[in-house]
């Protein structure tokens, strides 16, 4: 009689196989995930079972994937550490209170897209929330159709790694913050940070647009007499290209601090600033490529005028 193999001997390999398969199916990350005002972070973030928060959805989104909002709502602050798109055609809010809204701290090769967001700091009076979108490290960050208000800094591009960072802001509205847009490497080994602003409105901030090769001041870039910039000795390349935008009714419109900071201006309206329309400190360079309207400001430094190419 042939001895029958024990049942456990037969079942064990099957169980092992099942365990090997399970992680890739049950805990896999999706290319596209969804959040909803009535979602739940325990869900898989699918279209039919959406998550409640961006922070919940990001852990279920594959690198290079996209997170979308199904319906209007506020989905909370999030830290991004990989290539990712957050895109919304409805009002997708982030309400902060004493925190950052979005922090991008990804690999030097990663690309991030933030499209259609509404980032707001809670409360009244002086803003107590930190930065709307803080970029620490990424190859490129695209910010589109995004409103940011009531933060100590609306957008802060402050790379803290030995890699270059490029941020593009289009069709956005940055208003009622301490500093509207701040660009300045925060460590000596960061080669350069470039921010391009196009078709955007930067209004009613203490300082509108700031390029600081000396980097940000302590904590976050927090507006004051120095527009959120440090005194030095840092002097890494900080460049802002400002095209086709409205910069108005800030205390100071455009501020460049440090010899390695550069702001290029073309076809902008820079008006209604109680202090300075344009301000250069410590050798900061301001270059105008014609067609800028710089009027009705308390004072304004004169940019170097270059012809249209």
């Amino acid at each position: 009689m042939i001895p029958q193999p024990r049942r456990a001997v037969l079942v064990a390999p099957a169980l092992a196989l099942l365990l090997l398969v399970l992680p890739s199916t049950a805990f896999g990350q999706a290319t596209r995930t969804w959040v909803s005002g009535v979602g739940d972070d325990a869900n898989p973030c699918s279209r039919t079972a959406p998550c409640r928060t961006f922070a919940g959805a990001i852990s279920k989104t594959a690198a290079g994937g996209e997170m979308n909002a199904i319906d209007p709502g506020a989905f909370g602050p999030v830290n991004i550490n990989k290539s990712l798109t957050i895109r919304s055609q409805v009002e997708a809010g982030i309400l902060a209170s004493g925190t950052n809204g979005i922090v991008v701290n990804a690999a030097p090769t990663d690309k991030v897209v933030l499209d259609g967001l509404d980032i707001h700091g809670a409360g009244t009076g002086a803003p107590t929330s930190l930065v709307g979108i803080k970029v620490l490290q990424a190859r490129a960050v695209q910010i589109r159709r995004t409103d940011i208000s009531r933060m100590q800094a609306g957008i802060a591009v402050v790379p803290n790694a030995a890699s270059s960072t490029r941020v593009t802001i289009t069709d956005s509205h940055v208003y009622n913050n301490g500093v509207g847009i701040f660009n300045g490497p925060s460590i000596a080994t960061s080669p350069f940070a470039v921010t391009v602003v196009r078709r955007s409105l930067i209004a009613e901030n203490t300082c509108g647009v700031v390029a600081a090769s000396t980097g940000p001041n302590a904590t976050t870039p927090n507006a004051g007499a120095d527009c959120g910039s440090a005194a030095g000795p840092l002097n890494q390349v900080s460049a802002i290209e400002l095209f086709d935008s409205g910069i108005h009714d800030n205390d100071t419109g455009v501020y460049a601090r440090g010899a390695a900071s550069l702001v290029d201006l073309s076809e902008n309206y820079i008006t209604g600033h109680s202090a300075f329309g344009l301000r250069s400190v410590g050798g900061g360079q301001l270059r105008s490529f014609s067609s800028n309207v710089i009027v009705n400001n308390g004072a304004s430094d004169v940019p170097t005028v270059l012809g249209k190419q």
């Binding site: 409640r52 928060t53 919940g56 709502g73 602050p77 830290n79 209170s97 979005i102």
Partner: protein, 142 residues
């Protein structure tokens, strides 16, 4: 006797129906636009039209603190006051300006029946630290 019993049952039902709304009316809903602050960790609750727009709080995290802001937390009416509950993930910002991280939050709470104050518990797990279940309280400020 046989005729009185149904009458008594009817009377009981009528009384319970009449008393029901009166008892429920004692639970006041937190008014939209009001803010509550408290401790520990600068707890802040902002009431919106359909729930809590914001619940923000800080927790001790080693030598620093970690702060989170939860959005859109639903309120549920109970006999003991409006209750709130959140179980999910949130983006944390560290006070020492070290890079933030996403972590998990379990939050429960309840407003008093007069909606003048709220209290509850919170438990956090984030990259640099985790907490046990902490109690929080908050009072209406505006």
């Amino acid at each position: 006797m046989r005729g009185i019993l149904p009458l008594l049952v009817l009377l009981g039902l009528a009384l319970s129906v009449a008393a029901g709304p009166a008892a429920a009316a004692e639970v006041r809903k937190p008014r939209a636009g009001t803010t509550y602050t408290g401790s520990p960790g600068k707890v802040e609750l902002t009431v919106g039209t359909s729930g809590l727009d914001l619940v923000a709080f800080s927790v001790r995290c080693g030598t620093t603190t970690a702060r989170a802001a939860l959005n859109g937390v639903a309120l549920k009416r109970t006999r003991r006051g409006y209750a709130l509950a959140f179980r999910g993930r949130a983006g944390f910002t560290y006070a020492d300006d070290e890079d933030g991280a996403n972590g998990s939050v379990t939050l429960t709470g309840r407003f008093s029946t007069t909606a003048k104050s709220a209290r509850g518990t919170v438990r956090v797990r984030v990259a640099r630290c985790g907490t046990r279940t902490l109690r929080w309280t908050a009072r209406q400020v505006r």
